[in-house]
Symmetry: C2
Subunit: 173 residues, 2 copies
DNA sequence: CATTTTATTTTTGTTACATAATTCAAAATA
DNA sequence: TATTTTGAATTATGTAACAAAAATAAAATG
């Protein structure tokens, strides 16, 4: 006894797969199969988050989407030249006045030519320090941003190398 | 005319493929096929950068790899719960003392239950503000971190909603 | 009408296959 | 004999194909 016949509209709907999208087999080295699967899932969640301006007018429990200025990817926001950028953890409070505190993560770009006024990472006789650069014809000064600290005057006998210019600071509150 | 016969050792050797390893087909959403291929070849610039401790002993032009503490992905470093996290740009200097300045990007986690001492994003009568939370049985206070500013005492007639707790600040230097 | 059964259609992991790539050895050539 | 050409052997690689699972609608049943 047949129950047959065409059933238009029946069947699993398209887009009900785990990716909501067509898939295609790709050959992957066996050692990376799991990493690739993770990669696919992690990339599915965009690494961007909404940015709300602080002039938002709202009282609701969640900021309204109207006020989203932008979706921001932190990495892109903070690093311009990945190949030339690295992080250094700050030590001490000598730059406190400009918001660099002990333990903060500094983003350093080594491709920026250091100029006076730049906040730089300098290695003086092998010791790393963050300071504001002030170079005159006579001497090289490294200025703190905290009255409790003294400027460093680098003598000609001392070894000093500028590693890069600090572009951003990430501060745990 | 035959040129035949057994040829032991002939043929393409194993491991001469582009990955030097056995491969296996994996289903990938079509929009990510290229990203996955890049990922396999490691041509994807990983969004991680090296972190150097500030106790590095070095004088060379580039920090030595020995001193790399870690490869850091900024996004992961700063956001714990992506679905519950958003950014707000700071306005004004009322929290200057703890390193939050005008224009800084604040990372806000709305899943953290706000407690006294937490730095929170509050909407008071529709105005957004960053302050330190101090709630007593009688009243709710929002304390600045700058002597030039006054605490905000939220009266019972006023609308106040805490949007979330500030966990990190990104500061352009 | 509610529930169960059957049919239909898409997803998904894997196998299979045709073609490309790479190497070895025999045959042809110089 | 030394070198080049040709054919055979073997693995790599992209994709078609297949089978099982999943999801839904229609039909049958009570």
């Amino acid at each position: 006894m047949t129950r047959g016949g065409k059933r238009t509209g029946a069947g699993r709907p398209t887009g009900t797969g785990q990716y909501g999208e067509e898939t295609k087999p790709v050959r992957v080295p066996v050692s990376k199969v799991n990493a690739v699967k993770d990669f696919i899932k992690n990339e599915t969640e965009l690494p961007t988050l909404p940015l709300y301006g602080s002039d938002v007018q709202a009282g609701g429990p969640t900021p309204a989407d109207d006020y989203v200025e932008n979706q921001i990817n932190l990495h892109d926001y903070v690093v311009e030249r990945p190949a030339e950028t690295f992080f250094v953890r700050a030590k001490g409070q000598s730059m406190k006045n400009i918001g660099i505190g002990d333990g903060d993560l500094m983003v350093v770009d080594r491709s920026i030519a250091p100029r006076n006024g730049h906040v730089v990472i300098a290695a003086v006789d092998g010791d790393l320090t963050v300071k504001r650069l002030n170079k005159t014809t006579d001497c090289l000064e490294l200025l703190p941003e905290n009255e409790e600290f003294q400027p460093i005057r680098v003598s000609s006998e001392q070894h000093c190398h500028i590693w890069g210019v600090v572009t951003n600071v990430i501060h745990r509150v």
